[in-house]
């Protein structure tokens, strides 16, 4: 026997080594993760009919919808938890709020909290603006739900003390003006001097400002770019229009909340109603500011992932932090960060730990996954060639609480690499026989005619096995690449979900491969 074959173990009797088929093992692992995610109601948790909305799987989504309706002022409740509870405890109240939202966002007011309502709510409240309806942007005044979302965002960013309530009529003009002023000061909106005052004084909501307000990444980028270096340190730029401490307090509130929202989007368990003060470099000389404990923990965690010391960011907010976050979203290269993150996801224990975290986080984990997928979507839009480096690129955007999402995609890319390796062709040789299946499918069979009759049967079985393995590899490869490309076009549409539904189709081939392996093992034993 010749044991130097490049692809498969040549020792036909060694069935143990056969079970280490890369593609199948990779798939099996991938499938396990996705199944676990599905069990946690991370996928397919929207009802396919009004009657199905009572299912347990929908409960978490329903509660999240209730919370978002509460944030926009459609659902009256004393706090977030009470709002979530209405889904189970007061369905009529919940459905009335759904109907009101549907009317104000020009959806069919059918009280059915299905996919359209879910998407509309998500787009308005999730701080991810890629899928905003064009009509919302061109004429937001026609959609009261959009105005409520603007008011909600201004509230979250510290521009106003008031969330939209049940009696919401219009956005607080002062709050929106503050935001426009800040956007100008940060350089996120540029215009000639003569146009600044009319812009600030106009009550109209122009599209550029609206998109900026609803786009977390652009705001982070604007802050990242808006700083100055002094004495070797990066400082937030003092903006001339903010001359006194009350203005500085407003900037502080904005910066702190922006970071809180960022970590919230990444799946961290952050309370967005936490105090808005936090030390900011170059901002608070001589003043002692109390740190938010949860934000300190997130910042320390992120610092470690980014290869910094824990104390780098947990002491105070710096432009470096915004620059690092912006780089992550913009897919800028950072090999050290990649290495650091890679080393954290190698053990099964860590994966299981991430799954446990996922169980606790429920929807927050899902939001974190969406965030990562959205970044992946951008990668595709930037350059198709980046697909080839996807596994490496994704690694840079992996954070503690989205470990599971990262692992899913990382494994998917691993499957592609290994599956394509399997497509290299197959050669089976022993002293009396050889079979070579070339990559394009051509086959050459050679035999001395001297081998035992049983040998022909064994070769035939081996041929079938290799063909099935090839098909498995090709199909996995096709499905994953196809899903990756589809998700690129669907922006942050759930890549993992697409992969999961597609890869289920591979199960029949995997079963066939295992059956053939058993047959082969029996023949070898003979």
């Amino acid at each position: 026997m010749n044991d130097a074959l490049p692809i498969y173990p040549q020792n036909l009797g060694d069935t143990k080594s056969w079970r280490t088929i890369d593609a199948a093992n990779q798939y099996s692992r991938f499938d396990q993760l996705l199944t676990e995610a599905e069990n946690q109601s991370l996928f397919d948790a929207l009802p396919d009919s009004p009657d199905a909305s009572q299912t347990h799987a929908f409960k978490k989504r329903g509660e999240t919808m209730a919370e978002r309706l509460w944030l926009l002022g459609y659902l009256i409740a004393s706090n977030k938890d009470a709002a979530r509870a209405t889904f189970s405890d007061n369905r009529e109240l919940f459905l009335t709020a759904v109907e009101a939202f549907q009317r104000e966002s020009k959806l069919t007011p059918d009280r059915w909290p299905g996919i359209q309502t879910w998407n509309a709510l998500s787009n308005l409240v999730s701080f991810e603006s890629d899928d905003l309806d064009e009509a919302w942007l061109s004429s937001p005044e026609d959609f009261p739900a959009v105005l409520r979302a603007v008011q909600c965002r201004l509230f979250v960013l510290g521009m106003t003390q008031q969330r939209p309530g049940s009696d919401f009529k219009q956005i607080k003009p002062g709050a929106f003006r503050k935001f426009k002023l800040l956007a100008l000061a940060l350089g996120a909106i540029k215009m000639s001097k003569g146009k600044i005052l009319p812009f600030l004084n106009s009550p109209a909501i122009n599209e550029e400002t609206l998109v900026l307000l609803l786009d977390q990444d652009r705001l982070i980028e604007a802050v990242a770019r808006s700083n100055k270096r002094s004495s070797g340190k990066l400082y937030f730029r003092y903006i001339p229009v903010f001359k006194n401490w009350s203005h500085k307090a407003r900037i502080r509130a904005f910066l702190v909340r922006l970071i809180q929202v960022e970590f919230w989007l990444l799946g961290y368990d952050i309370d967005l109603s936490a105090p808005l003060n936090y030390p900011i470099i170059g901002f608070d000389e001589g003043k002692k500011i109390k740190r938010s404990r949860s934000l300190t923990k997130c910042l320390a965690d992120f610092a470690v992932l980014a290869g910094k010391s824990k104390k780098t960011w947990e002491r105070e907010l710096t432009p470096d932090l915004f620059i690092a976050l912006h780089r992550a979203a913009a897919q800028e290269d950072d090999p050290e960060l990649y290495e650091k993150i890679e080393s954290r996801v190698k053990s099964q224990e860590q994966i299981e730990s991430a799954l446990n975290q996922g169980r606790k986080l429920h929807m927050r984990l899902w939001d974190g996954i969406k965030r990562v997928l959205r970044w992946i979507g951008r990668l595709f839009r930037k350059a198709v060639k980046s697909i080839l480096d996807l596994g490496r690129s994704i690694a840079r955007f992996f954070y503690n609480k989205v470990q599971q999402a990262f692992d899913i995609v990382k494994n998917a890319v691993g499957v592609i690499v290994r599956a394509i390796g399997t497509l290299d062709g197959t050669q089976i040789r022993d002293e009396d026989n050889f079979i070579s299946i070339l990559f394009d499918g051509d086959v050459v069979v050679g035999t001395s005619g001297l081998s035992h009759p049983n040998e022909s049967l064994r070769l035939a079985t081996r041929l079938r096995l290799d063909a099935e393995r090839f098909c498995l590899a090709a199909q996995i490869c096709a499905l994953i690449l196809s899903a990756l490309i589809k998700s690129a076009f669907a922006r942050w549409a759930s890549l993992a979900k697409v992969l999961f539904s597609n890869l289920k189709m591979c199960l029949s081939i995997i079963r066939k491969v295992y059956t053939l392996e058993k047959e082969m093992a029996m023949l070898s034993a003979d």
């Binding site: 990559f439 499918g441 051509d442 001395s448 063909a467 096709a478």
Partner: protein, 112 residues
Amino acid sequence: MSNLTKAIKKVGEAIEDLSELRVQTVIGDVTAVVKSKKLSDLENLLKPAGNDASKAKLHLVLDTTIKFDGDSLNFIDVDISTPDLVALHKEAITAGLRHRQGLVEMFKGLLK
């Protein structure tokens, strides 16, 4: 170059001939082919030394070419073929078609 880049490049280089499928079954002294680990010598081994066909190291027993449009061309040397060899050849055709199917599925999936 990443592993994925290399792998995809390999796919691009290898898929040059999907227009037809060819399966050949030969019998004879396969030692040279087995040792060389290459099939490039196969044509030479099939050629007789001088004009004496009996001196060829390998003899083509069965040869099947399946065209893209479904037509197939079959060669069978009835003097030296055996039922075992025919069965093995058929199995090889099935395996070749399955490979082809896998490839087509892969690219179909990418183009959908």
